[in-house]
């Protein structure tokens, strides 16, 4: 393990016996990990397994309690982001470190300007353009980064790392917000990095990608390294078992759906961004899958029904009753709820407790004469926590301290308590680990069984195919395809509608 068999050189990165504890939690326990030059290592694990802690150490945000890190055989002490940069490590976090108002080239050289207080526009621009050319991707150079797509911003981050002479690039769920085509493009870039002898640590929850891109897989569970193996020696089932530590037979729970008459009927739904009004309906006990590329208008569709965006025109009826929804409050009272894709910005209040977050949409039922019924709220919250298997020490704990999967379960709990008739899920399993995914799918099935009307928006095609009774595919604000027979549908069929 110490030396690469082929070259005799010491490995690019060697982490040895890394321990890290936070108050009350052992985040990492004797983890050792190595990456060779030009190797792509996929780092896997459920939420809370310690992946984030490990890469934060590489980025200089946290220091290990014990253990050492070597880069190309030399021991390094990464105690700041600057030290990480110096060691040749570039970390691309899920939340990008880009200033939205600045152009790509300005972002790339931010903090490293060389002009003695003046910005050397032409030099920097030219150097950035060269770097972009090397990666073979076209990114507009003079548009503020905030206006670029997620994929383009990610490329800017990668180029930024390359401009700092990074030898190892760590990517934390780079594909989470990308479309299938964009992911393919990202993989081309990664293969190019490999050719340039740059090592990559790739974190993702998507199995397909791991088999496509990685040379070796390392699995973390509860802060310990469960094992590493060449990707070729593993299959999907074995990988999932390593992650969750138990057998999972199926990715999607088995169910049969009883479809009833149409419950939610949408006619001529119009958003400022949509070229035409949208018509569709959701039946009793049905899961309607909505998919498409990013920017296709899926999220806007959900926000319109929920009253979160301004409705330009159209009508929504629930069980034959026309609804007049002007705010999310109206929608909630009418029996519609929306589980947003972005937990941090829209779903939860990170600085509030689990219980308070749980109670927020339910206070009309959990209060009397303006007073919150604290006890009743706590009991209800605890019972959902048990039912959804939320890992927490107590319900007064801050939501911000939970892992991504558990946060998503808190979102689920607060809306389940509402017992709404129409439930809209926007990317219900984004950033959620395999074990929790299964539980969320089981829950969606249960809601369908209860006769609710469910809309599930997702970019993950296997999920859309595995869960939906009917699929709407959107492209640039239009519904470009409806797939009735989901059992026979394929990913290619969906992509055809989505890319048009």
């Amino acid at each position: 393990m110490a030396r690469s068999a082929l070259t005799g050189k010491p490995p690019l990165l060697e982490m040895h016996g890394i321990d890290k504890s936070y108050p009350g939690v052992r985040a990492l326990d004797g983890v050792s990990l190595s990456v060779q030059h030009g190797e792509v290592v996929a780092l896997l694990g459920e939420n809370g397994a310690g992946k984030s802690t490990l890469i934060k150490m590489l980025g200089g945000a946290h220091q290990p309690d014990r253990g050492n890190i070597r880069v190309a055989g030399e021991e390094v002490n990464i105690d700041s982001p600057a030290a990480a940069r110096l060691a040749g490590i570039g970390v691309i976090f899920q939340e990008f470190n880009l200033v939205p108002e600045l152009a790509p080239w300005e972002n790339i050289f931010l903090g490293r300007e060389t002009g003695f207080g003046f910005v050397r526009r032409e030099t920097e621009r030219w150097r950035a353009a060269q770097l972009f050319q090397q990666t073979g991707v076209d990114v507009p150079m003079d548009v503020p980064c905030g206006q670029l797509s997620v994929a383009q911003q990610q490329i800017v981050e990668i180029v930024k790392a390359l401009s700092q002479n990074a030898r190892l690039i760590v990517m934390d769920e780079p594909s989470a917000a990308l479309t299938t085509q964009e992911v393919a493009c990202l993989f081309d870039i990664i293969r190019d990095l490999k050719r340039r002898n740059i090592g990559v640590i790739y974190i993702s929850h998507r199995m397909d990608e791991i088999f496509q891109i990685s040379d070796r897989v390392a699995v973390l569970r509860d802060g310990q390294l469960v094992g590493t193996a060449p990707t070729g020696e593993l299959d999907r089932k074995r990988l999932i078992e390593m992650m969750v530590g138990r057998n999972i037979e199926e990715e999607f729970p088995e169910t049969t759906r009883q479809l009833g008459p149409a419950r939610l009927v949408v006619r001529g739904l119009k958003h400022a961004k949509f070229p035409v009004g949208l018509d569709f309906e959701v039946r009793r006990g049905e899961v309607l899958g909505v998919t498409g590329l990013i920017g296709a208008g899926r999220t806007e569709l959900a926000r319109l029904i929920f009253g979160a965006d301004h409705l330009v025109g159209g009508s929504v009826t629930l069980d034959g009753t026309p609804l007049d929804i002007r705010s999310p409050r109206d929608a909630i009272l009418a029996g519609i709820c929306l589980l947003t894709e972005d937990r941090k910005q829209q779903g939860l209040i990170m600085g509030a407790s689990i219980c308070e977050n749980f109670g927020l949409p339910n206070l009309s039922e959990l209060s009397y004469g303006g007073f919150v019924r604290g006890r009743q709220e706590r009991v209800a919250c605890d019972s959902y926590a048990k039912r959804l298997n939320i890992k927490m020490s107590h319900s007064q704990q801050l939501v911000g301290n939970l892992s991504g999967g558990n946060q998503q379960k808190v979102v689920l709990a607060k809306w389940l308590q509402r017992n709404a008739e129409v439930v809209i899920f926007d990317e219900p399993t984004r950033g959620v680990d395999v074990g929790s995914k299964y539980e969320i799918y089981a829950l969606i099935n249960e809601l369908a069984k209860q006769g609710k009307a469910i809309i599930m928006i997702s970019s993950e095609l296997p999920e859309i195919l595995g869960m939906s009774d009917r699929i709407l595919v959107m492209h640039e604000g239009r519904i470009t395809g409806t797939i009735q027979d989901t059992a026979a549908a394929t990913q290619e069929q969906i992509m055809e509608f989505a890319a048009q």
């Binding site: 409050r329 909630i332 910005q345 829209q346 509030a352 927020l360 206070l363 020490s393 107590h394």
Partner: protein, 441 residues
């Protein structure tokens, strides 16, 4: 195990919410030790004490002169001494409430009547007068004064109540400010609203209520008008913030100038003092020995604490401050709530203005200058975050008292007023720093 975790977190929660209480107590202890001094009892209880001393020392058939100044406390002292002495069967020749000359006249009269003075009841001030030594038959050694004792100036009841009374106005306004800051906003207009409320209510009472002869109904209506105007100003702030999305800082900065200008305009820049005694009751009187503003403060804080910690209203305010978009998407009526918060803040600033006018017996457009900063400082020292979502009502009360205690303590220890400002600035910074460090750990 579960249980211990939970109770441990309750203790931690309490410490993080009210850790500033410890700071307040330490400050109190510091100023208590710095201001330890020999104290002389005053008032009725001191009078009774001296009477007892004379009775023990001299027995019956003693003739006594009582000497005190012409102040409220001294009169109470003299009255109590005379009453007690008579009850003990001792003859009081005369009671003097005045200056040394009055004493000389009294002694001359007594000696002219061939009466003998066996003892003089005096307090620590009148015992030092030299007038007694002019009469060979009297002499200052016949003075009996109350026994002194050791006690810090800071902890004297009168001082503590004084501190509470002065803090009450800031603290009342700070309730509204706490709600605003918890909702991730700011209100810079409260200082000007204090002036506006004082002017509007004084004007109403003077011009429509009959000035100094105004009846109680007109006084109440005048005060209500002052508060209503400020509440309306708060509603206007809320409207601008929610409907047009103007940042609270800008909206309330504008309102600060507008309200101040209005106050000067309405009063022509002059103080209005034609006010009836009933108007002065709220700020100037006591109930059960405690100043009325302090009672008002305590009641308002209790109500606000319940509203913010137990009621749906408070939950919504914290939720909006924690994450406005998430709160909206959870069905919180964000706009309505923010309007309510700014309205309450305005109304409480108005109430603060009424209390201040009542204390100072005037309506004046110059009242409330820089109050907004003092109030924001109290809220921040009390542990609220300017980023919103965090802060406790009683934390603010503690914050207001920390600032008041430091000011009072520095006055008692004769710190130069210029240095006082420097210290206060440093304290504000230190409080926030301490809070940050504690949270980071």
């Amino acid at each position: 195990m579960e249980n211990r975790n939970a109770s441990g977190s309750v203790v931690n929660q309490f410490l993080s919410d009210y850790g500033m209480l410890a700071v307040l107590l330490v400050l109190g202890a510091l100023f208590a030790t710095l201001t330890i001094k020999e104290q002389h009892p005053t008032g009725a209880s001191a009078g009774r004490q001296v009477a007892q001393m004379i009775a023990q020392r001299q027995g019956e058939n003693t003739q006594v002169l009582i000497v005190a100044r012409d102040t409220r406390e001294d009169r109470a002292f003299a009255r109590a001494a005379a009453k007690e002495l008579q009850a003990l069967g001792i003859r009081v020749l005369a009671v003097v409430n005045g200056v040394p000359n009055d004493v000389r006249a009294a002694i001359e009269k007594i000696t002219a009547g061939r009466q003998q003075i066996d003892a003089i009841v005096a307090n620590d001030v009148t015992a030092k007068w030299s007038v007694y030594d002019r009469f060979p038959s009297v002499g200052s050694d016949k003075c009996v004064k109350p026994r002194p004792y050791i006690w810090p100036d800071f902890l004297k009841m009168s001082n503590l109540l004084g501190v509470a009374n002065q803090t009450a106005i800031y603290a009342i306004i700070a309730i509204g400010m706490t709600m605003v800051i918890v909702s991730a906003g700011i209100d810079l207009s409260v200082g000007s609203l204090v002036a506006l409320a004082s002017v509007v209510s004084a004007l109403c009472i003077r011009d429509w209520g009959g000035g100094a002869d105004a009846g109680i109904t007109m006084v109440v209506l005048g005060c209500a008008a002052g508060i209503a105007v400020c509440a309306a100003a708060g509603t206007f702030n809320g409207l601008m913030i929610t409907v047009f999305g103007i940042p609270p800082f800008i909206v309330s900065l504008s309102m600060m100038m507008i309200a101040s200008g209005l106050a000067f305009r309405l009063s022509d820049g002059r103080s209005i003092s034609e006010l009836p005694p009933s108007f002065l009751w709220l700020g100037g009187s006591q109930t059960l020995g405690v100043p009325n503003p302090v009672w008002l403060m305590l009641v308002l804080y209790s109500v606000a604490h319940i509203v913010m910690s137990r009621m749906v209203f408070g939950r919504y305010v914290y939720a909006i401050g924690g994450n406005k978009e998430a709160a909206r998407l959870s069905g919180v009526p964000v706009k309505r709530m923010l309007m309510a918060v700014y309205t309450i803040c305005g109304a409480l600033a108005g109430l603060g203005g009424i209390v201040l006018s009542s204390q100072l017996a005037a309506g004046d457009p110059k009242f409330g200058l820089m109050y907004e900063l003092e109030v924001i400082a109290a809220v921040v020292v009390g542990g609220a975050s300017l980023m919103g979502g965090r802060g406790k009502v009683f934390g603010t009360l503690i914050g207001a008292f920390i600032i008041a205690v430091i000011k009072n303590g520095m006055n008692l220890t004769n710190v130069d007023p210029f240095n006082q400002r420097i210290v206060l600035g440093a304290v504000l910074l230190a409080a926030v720093l301490l809070d940050m460090l504690r949270r980071r750990r």
